[in-house]
């Protein structure tokens, strides 16, 4: 190593120490602050994954906008999906503060390099699925996002504060759908039970692999990008959701769910991690459909973007003339 390289690496080390000290002191890291390259990359990966989830999630929910069973439900669902799209926008903007463009982020999505929440690779087959998605999927997302309000990167933490407020409205709309169904006819109750059974396990998988199989977790915890482990968050979600299932009067979707007095938590049955990894790898029920839909919409919109650019250029030309 030459002398300058040694000096550079020394500077790097001291910058990294300073950075960690700031994180430890609960100071927020802002876009123009020095940060380790790996911290930047981890955040880009995580924030873009989150943004893509909001956007791809519009597909399974949008699937029922035209078929919502009442005008009130339709209006509420439209408002909800509009919020989700808005979350996608803030999050893309938060990611852009890290020096990457939305085009690059979308390119990575289309190439399958960037992920989105695996839950959206499951189909919404009945109206009750819209209830289950709002209640369970947004419920799980809130547990995750409440913790992220204290994440170390400022723009991400601030986006989460705003997003959490809207998500709790979304969860209520989902639960309200489930409540109406579970107090309705036998067919409606069966529809609600079926949706719960199908969305329960994928919702638990949203928190990611068990802590001992989560390769990036330790570093993310040290950097305070993550504030709680996957297993902690999953347990919180289960503990808050089981009593809600009981209020609905639906059967528990897992026969092993029971209160453990000693742990002060609900015990639950084994998660099918093979299924999880299959879906992550692209082999879930809707992976191809979701990605192709997004690519098609973008391709069909290319002429619109070209027209906007051409029009702006003409306008500038006229102004200059």
């Amino acid at each position: 190593m030459s002398q300058t390289e040694t000096e550079q690496s020394k500077t790097e080390q001291s910058l990294e120490r300073e950075f960690q000290a700031r994180v430890d002191a609960e100071e927020k890291i802002e876009p123009k602050d020095w940060m380790p390259e790996a911290y930047r990359k981890t955040l880009i990966r995580q924030i873009s994954q989150h943004a893509h989830s909001e956007v791809v999630g519009m597909q399974p929910e949008g699937n029922w906008i035209t078929r919502a069973p009442s005008l009130r439900r339709k209006a509420v669902l439209l408002a909800k999906v509009q919020d989700e799209a808005g979350h996608g926008l803030y999050l893309y903007s938060a990611a852009e503060t890290l020096g990457i463009s939305r085009e690059e982020l979308l390119e990575a999505l289309h190439q399958g390099k960037a992920k989105y929440s695996s839950i959206f690779n499951y189909p919404t087959l009945s109206w009750a699925d819209i209830g289950a998605v709002g209640w369970l999927v947004d419920g799980a997302a809130i547990v995750n996002q409440v913790a992220l309000q204290r994440t170390s990167f400022g723009p991400y933490a601030r986006a989460m504060v705003r997003i959490c407020k809207e998500e709790s409205f979304h969860q209520r709309q989902g639960y309200e759908i489930m409540l109406a169904l579970s107090r309705g006819s036998a067919a409606q109750k069966a529809m609600a039970q079926d949706a719960l059974n199908r969305f329960w396990w994928p919702s638990l998988m949203m928190f990611g692999p068990n802590d001992d199989h989560s390769p990036n977790s330790a570093q993310s915890m040290k950097w305070k990008i993550k504030r709680k482990s996957n297993d902690q968050l999953r347990q919180e979600f289960i503990d808050q959701t089981v009593p809600q299932i009981e209020v609905l009067g639906l059967e528990l979707p897992d026969p092993e769910l029971r209160w453990n007095e000693e742990r002060g938590h609900y015990d639950f049955g084994p998660i099918d991690w093979d299924e999880f990894f299959q879906v992550i790898k692209g082999n879930g029920p809707c992976n191809r459909q979701r990605l192709q839909h997004h690519i098609r919409a973008q391709r069909e919109g290319e002429w619109v973007c070209e027209a906007v650019r051409a029009y702006e250029n003409k306008k500038r030309g006229r102004k200059a003339a």
Binding site: P69, S70, A75
Partner: protein, 251 residues
């Protein structure tokens, strides 16, 4: 004024909003980019909100114990009274833009006039709607300019859309005996009078967007008598699916 006639009038206006709101909502996750997805869903929401106000008022006047949902979900094609322009399939982004522009321009004038209705409930709905309509028009007008005066392709797509839609615009300004009677009573809007203001407004924008005003004849229309295009039945099949499959339940 006879309640049934006002109920019928409110149903017509509710159906216009419901059917166009449905078409706009089909854009969810299909827009050219995310900002436009948000804007289109938002516009759809305005139309669905308007449909609810008109249909619940119609149901109330009818006094037969029906609700906005009964009107939206249990009537068949022949009982829907929307104007045909609203039910045409969403087409490409140019078609949606041009339709919105033509309809928004007419809606601004229509709802401004309906604010003066002697029926206080219709006037109140109009007062809320007119604010939305002005915003919608600003947006669709801007898009018409961008797409009309954008690239060769965008101009061609807009011109095609304009030609396809033009014949349906006549119906926006047609009066029948029911609306004429309501107009005489100070309840309804004089649609014929709107056209004189709509045409110059629309022609100027079409010209600014470097498009050609179509020299095409009016199409037959028939929406107010429940004579629709073949497209409406499919729209209703989708809209009404749950209520038809599980009739008489609360959701």
């Amino acid at each position: 004024m006879n309640k049934d006639a006002i109920a019928e009038y409110a149903t017509r206006l509710g159906d216009d909003a419901l059917v166009l709101g449905h078409r706009l909502s089909e854009w969810c996750s299909n827009g050219p980019f995310l900002e436009e997805d948000i804007a289109t869903i938002n516009t759809a929401l305005d139309f669905i909100g308007r449909a609810r106000m008109f249909l619940s008022y119609a149901a109330e006047l009818e006094g037969a114990g029906r609700s906005e949902d009964d009107l939206a979900y249990t009537r068949d094609c022949r009982e829907f009274k929307n104007l045909l322009i609203h039910e045409l399939p969403r087409g490409d982004f140019a078609f949606t833009t041009v339709r919105q522009f033509l309809v928004d321009a007419s809606n601004v004038l229509f709802f401004e006039a309906l604010c003066e209705s002697s029926d206080p409930q219709l006037a109140a709905i109009a007062a809320k709607s007119v604010k939305e309509c002005r915003y919608h028009l600003r947006r669709s007008h801007d898009w018409l300019l961008r797409l009309g005066d954008g690239t060769e392709e965008s101009r061609r797509r807009c011109q095609d859309a304009l030609d396809d839609l033009w014949g349906y615009t006549d119906e926006l300004f047609a009066m029948d005996a029911l609306e004429q009677a309501l107009l005489d009573a100070g309840v309804a809007v004089d649609r014929v009078a709107l056209k004189e203001r709509w045409l110059p407004l629309v022609s100027a924008a079409i010209d600014e967007a470097t498009l050609q005003l179509p020299a095409l004849p009016a199409l037959p229309g028939g929406g107010r008598e429940g004579i629709h295009t073949e497209h409406l039945g499919h729209l209703l099949a989708e809209l009404q699916f749950v209520q038809r499959a599980y009739p008489g339940l609360q959701w």
